[in-house]
């Protein structure tokens, strides 16, 4: 046997057209799926599966590595009576109240200031305000601990002549939440300022100039032009900050450690979930808490958006 060179039958024109059409159909209809496959594969394996798996876990009493038994809604019911959980909820809400408005409106104020053409060195100011974002939180946490040290910290030394003692984070329960809020605002306000600044610079100057010609004051231009046009960005930042606060982990954990400060006064939902799962190894209950927090964050974000939209509709 042995094929002669050049004897391979050539495809007919109709066959070629069919093959080309099929290839075209393949490339047009299937190639997008091939392109997105890597993402969805990773998403399904590393995101979706754990999400669904932990949802199932939340109905078990799994502790440690031993598989748990199905306990129905017990974890969710227990959560309602768990003092530590409610303490974490309360602390998180306190931080939210302090942080979210400060981040939203503080960053707007800073953005307006560093957007002024008359401000000399405004690029330097922008850089300075943004710089905490690039500082490692471990470094920042240590820095704040040194700053606040009641024996050796500069704050304590400043206050000492007035008979005011410094803050002892290991005993002063009242200080935990303000300190977390302070560090969070310090760290994130620069980031939000950049977003606000970018949005501010998209507002057409003509609108403001027209208002100026009509005799609008600076406040009126801010109130009736800048603020309404910035509303979507403010809402965006508030929603992101809300999600961030409810999931906040780094600041309270680094500043106050696994014990969450005196009397758990710095216990927030993020560390609470971490502690329940990875310190207590109470995976069933920890999963239930995580799901409840997720639902609460989702509802809070929807509520913020809804309130904002409704306010705008009422105004319109």
């Amino acid at each position: 046997m042995g094929a002669q060179v050049g004897s391979v039958p050539s495809a007919t024109q109709p066959e070629l057209r069919t093959a080309r059409r099929q290839w075209t159909l393949f490339t047009v209809k299937r190639s997008p799926y091939l392109f997105i496959f890597p993402f969805y594969f990773i998403f399904i394996v590393f995101n979706l599966y754990p999400i669904l798996s932990s949802f199932l876990l939340s109905f078990t009493n799994q502790r440690g590595i031993r598989p748990g038994d199905f306990v129905g809604l017990d974890n969710y019911i227990f959560l309602l009576n768990d003092d530590s959980f409610w303490q974490a909820v309360g602390n998180t809400l306190k931080v939210w109240v302090l942080v979210v408005p400060a981040l939203a409106f503080g960053s707007l104020a800073l953005a307006i200031i560093v957007n002024q053409r008359w401000l000399a060195g405004r690029y330097t100011f922008r850089l300075m305000i943004f710089s905490p974002v690039v500082v490692s939180l471990v470094v920042a946490g240590t820095m704040f601990l040194v700053l606040l040290d009641p024996d050796y910290g500069p704050l304590a030394r400043l206050l000492a002549p007035f008979g005011i003692r410094g803050i002892n984070l290991t005993t002063d329960q009242w200080a935990s939440i303000p300190v977390i809020a302070l560090v969070t605002i310090w760290r994130w306000i620069g980031w939000n300022m950049v977003i606000m600044l970018a949005a501010l610079q998209t507002i057409p100057i003509e609108i403001s100039e027209a208002a100026l010609v009509d005799g609008a004051s600076s406040w009126q231009r801010f109130r009736y032009i800048t603020l309404p046009l910035m509303r979507p960005v403010i809402i965006f930042i508030m929603i992101l900050s809300t999600i961030g606060t409810f999931n906040q982990f780094d600041e309270p954990f680094i500043l106050f450690g696994r014990n969450a400060g005196p009397g758990q006064s710095a216990l927030m939902l993020g560390p609470f979930i971490y502690r329940t799962n990875f310190d207590f190894l109470n995976f069933g209950y920890g999963s239930a808490v995580a799901y409840v927090v997720t639902v609460v964050v989702f509802l809070a974000s929807v509520a913020q958006y809804w309130i904002s939209e409704r306010t705008r509709a009422d105004r319109d």
Partner: protein
Amino acid sequence: MECRNVLAAALMAALSLGAISVLAQDGGSVLDLVSPEVAAAVTGEYIPNPDLQQEQIDMTYWSWYGDTPRALYEQFREYYPNINITFEDMGPDDVRVRTLAALQGGIGAPCMVMLGDKWFPQFADAGLLDLSPWMEPYAPLFAPGKLFQNTTADGRILGVPWDGGPVITFYRRSVFEEYGLDPTSIETWEDFLAMGQQLSELSNGEVSMLWSSTGFNIGGTQTNIAYDQNILAQQLGSGYFDNDGNVVMDNEANVRALKLVLAFREAGITRNDPASGAAEVADLQDDTVATFTMAGWWSYYPKANVPDTAGDWGLMLMPAWEEGGRRGANNGGSSIYITEQCEHPEAAFEFLRFWLLRTQGRIDSFNVGSVVETVFLPTVENEFFQQGDPFFGGDPFFQLTQESAAQAASIRESVAFSEAEAAFNAALPGVLDGSVTPEVALNNVANELRRRLGQPEQPPLEDVALFE
């Protein structure tokens, strides 16, 4: 308690008592409790296993302190150039969480891992290799107490003990001399309290009798108090859980222990509120602290932080609750485990045997990492560990820590230990500000834990007396 647990505990107790009684006899050696072959392997020249010298073997070892095994591995390699061990150092929590995840996932676990004794219950059924066939001949050679008990589950020996945390009292000689007091005359906590008040009066409140810390102020006041309470309750034979895993945080021992901590605070003889690690060091430096009662491994702290006080420290057994009572307790300790994912468990155990089951391996470990040897009794007997420590004025550091280890109660931690600790810490502020009594506070904490663990709730004790 499951039958196997009872048998294991009984076996351990018998072995431990045997070890102690042998040690107590003049001229007796704990090595008399094991076969001549094992005794020779422990004290004699190391004889390598030719079966393990053939194929190329790669293993991993995870811990938060790898200096010592690394040093021993260098010696081990002289016998086994074909065995390659990769040492990975990470934080203690990382070791715990990563190992647990790898064991649960069935892949990625190291061959050998160091785990803290208090975590052991979380790993007891997690995929650690049963070392009983290899370890049983060596079992009589280990100290009693939680050290060895916490490597044993359901009659299986799962780990090779590395170190322990026998608690002793460190005191400052010059401070007591200045006020004409003799700390070595203290036998009970009542004596301690009385001398503390005397010292406070004589020094116009400048000197605190007791200083407590867990090192660099980790966790602050509440952790310091929890530490003190825990070792005091241990002296009364109790932890947060009994050996069956039942919550007993609100029993008489725990209430009395917390009351004693409060009594120290009320008498003004203690300082456990330092705001930072720097403040802690300053406390030790400025001659205003008379004693601290800590695990033996904590001896590194004054050596490292106040080296100029060398020779001014003395050591003694911690006071007892009553005359003739237990003067030992334990805090800390860790062991090395081989996971079921290890492809060469024989080689891994051989390395552990070389490192931890030979007197010379233990001495070399001490020379590298200053581990406080209280676990492996043949080493304890060794002349090397009978020497006094110049930093502590020549006091017999090892003998005292060994005595504490021998007297410490056997307390098995629970899988929910971390939960109990956190709940205890959370309840402390209420106790400290007097808004809730120790009996009620501990009962609240205990009942919260009982609810979580599905155990029946209990009423609080009433008016527990501090001293009987």
